[in-house]
C-alpha cells in the first residue's frame, strides 16, 4: 500500500534473514567446536548458503514470531517446561505402577487464544510433553486433547499462559488482522 509500511516489512524481512544467519552460524560453531578463523569463514559461507536456500524454498527466512526477545526468553521457557515434564513423568509413572490402573481417558476440546501457527504448534507440543495430555488434533484455534485423567485438563491454561509469555502475547486481540 504505502511506502512506509513496505519499508517496514522489508526491514523486518532483512532482520529476520540476519537472525536466521546468526542462528545457523551459532549452530555451526557448536557442531565444529572451534573458533578458528577458517572454520568461522566456512561456517559463514554455509550459513549464508543455507539461509538463501531457506528463503528460496519457504519464501521467508523465519516465522515472524521468532524475534531476539523470544530467543532470549527461550532458555527460561525450556527450564520451566522441563520442570513441568518431570512432574508429568512422575505423575504418569505413578498411574502406570498402580495395580488398579486408575485411568479415565477422554478427549476434550480446547480453544486457544494464541495467534499464529508457531505459538500454537509450541503449545500443542508442550501439551504432549506434560501431565497425561496428548494433543491429537489441531485445527484452527481448536485443539483436541486426549487426557489420561480428568484432572489433567486443568493444567492446560497454565501451560497456555507460559507459551503466551514466551511469544509476548498479551491478550485475546493482540494479533494483527491479515489481508
Amino acid at each position: 500500500m504505502n511506502i512506509g509500511s513496505r519499508e517496514l516489512t522489508s526491514g523486518r524481512a532483512l532482520r529476520s534473514k540476519l537472525l536466521l544467519f546468526v542462528l545457523l552460524l551459532a549452530f555451526w560453531i557448536v557442531l565444529t567446536a572451534s573458533l578458528a578463523l577458517h572454520e568461522l569463514v566456512m561456517g559463514a559461507v554455509c550459513a549464508a548458503f543455507v539461509g538463501t536456500l531457506t528463503v528460496a524454498l519457504l519464501g521467508r527466512a523465519l516465522d515472524p514470531c521468532i524475534t531476539p526477545a523470544v530467543l532470549l526468553r527461550l532458555p527460561v521457557f525450556m527450564v520451566r517446561l522441563v520442570w513441568e515434564i518431570i512432574k508429568a513423568n512422575i505423575d504418569v509413572a505413578k498411574i502406570i505402577i498402580d495395580p488398579r490402573l486408575p485411568i479415565d481417558p477422554r478427549i476434550v476440546e480446547y480453544r486457544t487464544y494464541l495467534p499464529g501457527d508457531l505459538p500454537r504448534t509450541v503449545f500443542s507440543d508442550s501439551i504432549t510433553l506434560t501431565p497425561g495430555t496428548v494433543t491429537v488434533e489441531l485445527e484452527g484455534d481448536v485443539l483436541n486433547v486426549h487426557c489420561l485423567c480428568p484432572y489433567h485438563e486443568e493444567g492446560l491454561a497454565g501451560l497456555e499462559a507460559l507459551v503466551a509469555w514466551l511469544f509476548g502475547v498479551k491478550g485475546m486481540s493482540q494479533g494483527e488482522e491479515d489481508g
Partner: protein
Amino acid sequence: MARDIVAGVFCCIGTLFFILGTTGLLRMPDLFTRLHPSTKCDTLGACSVILGMAVHNGWSWDLLKLVFIACFLLLSSATCGHAIGRSALRRNIPYWKKKEVTEDGHGA
C-alpha cells in the same frame, strides 16, 4: 570419581523411566492411552541418560551438542505422538473409556 557416581545415578534414573514407559506401553488398554507413557517416560528417560553423559563429560563443546540432541528429541517425540494420535482420530478409531459401573454392580 564423584562425577562418575552422579553420572551413573542419572543413567540409572533414565533406565528406570524407560522401564516404566515400557510397562505403561504394555499395560495401557488402547492406542491413545499408550501414547502417554511412550511420549513422556521415554523422553525423560532419554533426557536423563543424556544428562548423565553430560555430567560424565564435564564442561566442553560436547555439552552443547548433548543439549541440542535433547532439544531435538523433545521436539520429535512430541511431534510423533501428535501425528500418531491425529491419524488415529481421523480414522475414527474409538478410544477406550472407563466403564460406568454403580455401587451395586449395575451398569449406568
